[in-house]
């Protein structure tokens, strides 16, 4: 971090990104500040399987992160991504809509936390109203500060999705209103009616 007098760096920056242990294990980065606990224990467990000869070489991306954990973005696993797609953005913290305009880096950050939750499926970041500050990414935190401003790239993409998203939202809202109507074939008359048409299958 800028201004840090200690000059501390990550293990791969220090030992080299191609470094391997005597047992042939590479450096594995399980990033996060802090690390999602299940991500960490699961990686340790995988390596134990590998050392025991029961699993192949741990699959890692270019940043030495396990691919099954960091292959997707925050946005991919976020239950607010639907509101992004419809161009429906939050303007204040505490709104259940997409918070990309409030500083969330989720669309471009590799992390599974919104999908996995913080523990036992509970909590997380943008899925529960907390902007993604990129804590699993190289260059955190400096690259992502100040945290509470809209990420520079998001300005363009969120405006671009605005037109498409609003059209989609309007169409979906019509269909949604239709499928929310109580059907005519449900009534209190003696006659039995149904919405099932066998010939439609």
């Amino acid at each position: 971090m800028e201004g840090n007098p200690t000059g501390c760096v990550g293990l791969a920056d220090y030992l080299g990104w191609d470094w391997k242990s005597k047992a042939g294990l590479p450096i594995v980065n399980v990033p996060g500040c802090p690390v999602q606990p299940d991500n960490f224990m699961e990686t340790v467990l995988y390596l134990l399987y590998q050392v025991a000869g029961l699993a192949p070489m741990i699959p890692l991306d270019a940043q030495l992160r396990p691919t099954w954990l960091f292959g997707s973005t925050v946005h991919d696993g976020c239950d607010r991504a639907g509101s992004y797609e419809q161009g429906d953005f939050a303007t204040r913290y505490g709104s259940p809509k997409c918070i990309v305009k409030l500083g969330c880096w989720g669309p471009v950050v590799n992390c599974n936390v919104p999908k996995r939750g913080w523990m036992a499926g509970i909590g997380g970041c943008p899925n529960v109203g907390g902007i993604c500050i990129g804590c699993t990414m190289p260059g955190f935190p400096d690259k992502f500060m100040p945290f509470m401003d809209e990420p520079p790239g998001a300005k363009l993409s969120s405006s671009a999705i605005g037109i498409y998203g609003q059209a989609i939202r309007a169409l979906r809202s019509m269909t949604n209103a239709t499928v929310n109507k109580e059907p005519k074939w449900r009534h209190s008359r003696a006659e039995l009616t149904t919405g099932y048409h066998s010939n439609s299958y």
């Binding site: 800028e2 201004g3 840090n4 007098p5 505490g94 909590g123 109203g129 100040p146 509470m148």
Partner: protein, 601 residues
């Protein structure tokens, strides 16, 4: 983790048997704290103690020039245990500096989050870490006589907690195998879930901001919290009497045990849980809204409540040097001449502190630690008091009890005690606990207060959950208010980290952080001798601690010293900050694994 470095005789040591024993690091806490003692086996007491930390981190240095809105995100990273306490305290200071008052709903959500944090951390520390010092395996090894007695002593509250003898309680505390140890671990996990419901993640909350929170308040959110809270309330009905039985037994089995970890009653509590009805975060009204907190701030000297005024508490904080690896800032820049009420602000106050690290070799006659010496200036006497936090709960209770302000149905401060009322739960009727002001500020009473405070936090959470639901039912679901970062401002936040007082002081210039100083509890507790020669609280609490352990120097485990130090709930990474030396390699006796695995030969 003990090494006998040498039996270096010093001064009057000829007639007594002075042995130097060091614990570095003290384990079961993050390992940067070292306690260096000289033990007099002739007189069976600790003759001298130095508390030292080998870590420097420099938060106050790299906070400079940052966007002030980022303060809580960054300072949360001070600690991997109480990061959320820092984040919370930072938002309090930001709110003051930015002039923003969050909606009531946000305060209830933050209070529910912090209550869950107290419930979590006190629980895991008490029963999975401190408890090991009192477990069967430890007591058998250090005091076989006490173990024999424990096996024969009936537990007075058996009907409440289910353990027949004190020995049964001690067995239940054995790490990884004891029934109560395991149950406490599982309960802790549940309280973490409660925290994550309110603030997204532990230990660095994702949904906390200056101006409020990003958490979406829904019926489901509070249901999920309350369901877990009621289980914890039920658990407390067993936990409090269990610890009372265990701790009372120690006084009885080891007459004089009240002297272990005992020091003068000098306690500080900075208050916790803001009340949104009165808390507007203005400095001008801080005295009033400070007294509105659901844990009352206060300074207690020799059993008397000296103040409950946060302005008074704030202005009299002094950061002294003496034995710390820093150059002085007495002639450096003064950031704040006067507070917003016109009171002069001392050059040694955190608002005016500058940090000039000066790494050097450890020398117990000169400089020996990265921790500075925070003191509280008592204007009545002109003393710079080495206040301690007692690990948090004892100071919170003492201040709250004497102030007699808190009265929320589930909790009532009486002026001499604190009553905690817990409602009926699944299998247990309602109960009322009462914490009484103890005779001493010592190891046992710090530990006892921790247990009671778990119940306090649960009771407070019941109240906060009701208030939050009332807001929700009234349709007031807004959780955040907008603000602008001023060009120039100052702010301070006062809070209780799990293990005691926490303050954040910020100075903003040109919309950026010009100065920032967090003061967590451990610097208050683990600090060294100051420029006036006054030892820090660990040092004077351990010094003169009598030794009750039955082992001699060869098999000495230092259990009484460890109980004294651990009663303060040490957490050094909170306070200090560059690992310089090679930690001493010692036998691994004092670890959370104690007794659970066969010791390697």
């Amino acid at each position: 983790m003990a090494t006998i470095t040498a039996s270096r005789a010093e001064e009057d040591a000829q007639k007594s048997q002075l042995v130097e024993m060091n614990w570095d690091p003290i384990t079961r806490i993050v390992g940067s704290l070292g306690i260096f003692t000289k033990i007099d086996f002739g007189k069976r007491k600790v003759a001298e103690c130095h508390s030292t930390s080998s870590i420097f981190r420099g938060y106050s240095i790299f906070m400079k020039g940052k966007d002030p809105r980022d303060a809580h995100f960054i300072t949360s990273r001070i600690c991997g245990i109480c990061g959320d306490n820092h984040a919370t305290c930072a938002t309090y200071a930001q709110n003051m500096a930015f002039g923003v008052r969050p909606p009531a709903m946000a305060e209830w959500i933050v209070n529910l989050g912090e209550a869950a944090e107290y419930m979590f951390d006190h629980n895991i520390f008490q029963d999975n870490l401190v408890g090991v010092d009192f477990c069967e395996k430890m007591v058998k090894e250090t005091n076989p006589g006490v173990w024999e007695k424990a096996e024969k002593t009936r537990a007075p509250h058996e009907e409440l907690h289910g353990y027949r003898t004190i020995g049964d309680i001690m067995k239940a505390l054995n790490p990884f195998t004891g029934a109560f140890y395991i149950e406490a671990l599982q309960v802790s996990r549940m309280t973490r879930e409660m925290f994550c419901l309110m603030e997204g993640r532990h230990v660095h909350p994702s949904t906390l901001y200056p101006g409020g929170v990003g958490t979406v308040p829904t019926v489901q959110l509070f249901t999920d919290y309350i369901v877990r809270l009621m289980k914890y309330v039920e658990f407390m009905k067993k936990v409090v009497p269990l610890h009372d039985d265990l701790f009372d037994f120690f006084y009885e089995a080891l007459p004089g045990y009240e002297e272990v970890g005992r020091r003068r009653i000098l306690l500080g509590c900075w208050g916790s849980f803001n009340n949104p009805d009165v808390c507007d975060y203005t400095y001008a009204k801080m005295t009033d809204w400070g007294r509105g907190m659901y844990v009352t701030p206060g300074v207690i000297v020799d059993g008397k409540l000296v103040t409950t005024d946060l302005v008074d508490i704030n202005l009299n904080i002094r950061i002294l040097l003496g034995s710390s690896y820093y150059d002085d800032w007495q002639n450096a820049q003064t950031f704040v001449q006067k507070d917003p009420l016109g009171n002069p602000v001392d050059q040694r106050h955190p608002w005016n502190q500058s940090t000039f690290p000066k790494p050097q070799k450890r020398d117990f006659k000169e400089k020996y630690t990265w921790v500075m010496s925070p003191r509280w200036y008592d204007k009545r006497t002109g003393d710079y008091l080495a206040l301690d936090t007692g690990g948090g709960p004892i100071a919170r209770f003492w201040a709250t009890a004497l102030a007699g302000i808190v009265d929320i149905g589930y909790i009532k401060a009486t002026g001499h005690s604190v009553k905690i009322y817990l409602p009926k739960t699944t299998s247990k009727p309602e109960v009322e606990f009462e914490w009484h002001i103890p005779k001493w500020s010592n190891a046992i009473e710090r530990d006892r207060a921790r247990t009671y405070f778990q119940a306090y936090a649960a009771a407070a959470a019941l109240y906060f959950a009701e208030q939050a639901l009332a807001e929700l039912h009234a349709g007031r679901t807004r959780t955040w208010n907008d603000f602008k970062v001023p060009e120039e401002a100052i702010g301070c936040g006062f809070h209780e980290a799990v293990r005691g007082v926490l303050s954040h002081h910020v100075v903003i210039r040109d919309h950026k952080i010009a100065n920032y100083h967090p003061y967590p509890p451990t610097p208050w507790n683990a600090n060294p001798r100051d420029c006036y020669g006054t030892p820090g609280p660990y040092e004077d609490a351990v010094q003169n601690t009598p030794i009750f352990e039955e082992n001699g120097p060869d098999k000495f485990k230092g259990i009484d010293i460890m109980r004294a130090v651990r009663s303060f709930d040490p957490c050094l990474p909170c306070g200090v900050h560059m690992y310089l030396g090679n930690g001493k390699v010692l036998e691994t006796h004092h670890s959370p694994m104690f007794g659970a695995v066969p010791q390697a030969g």
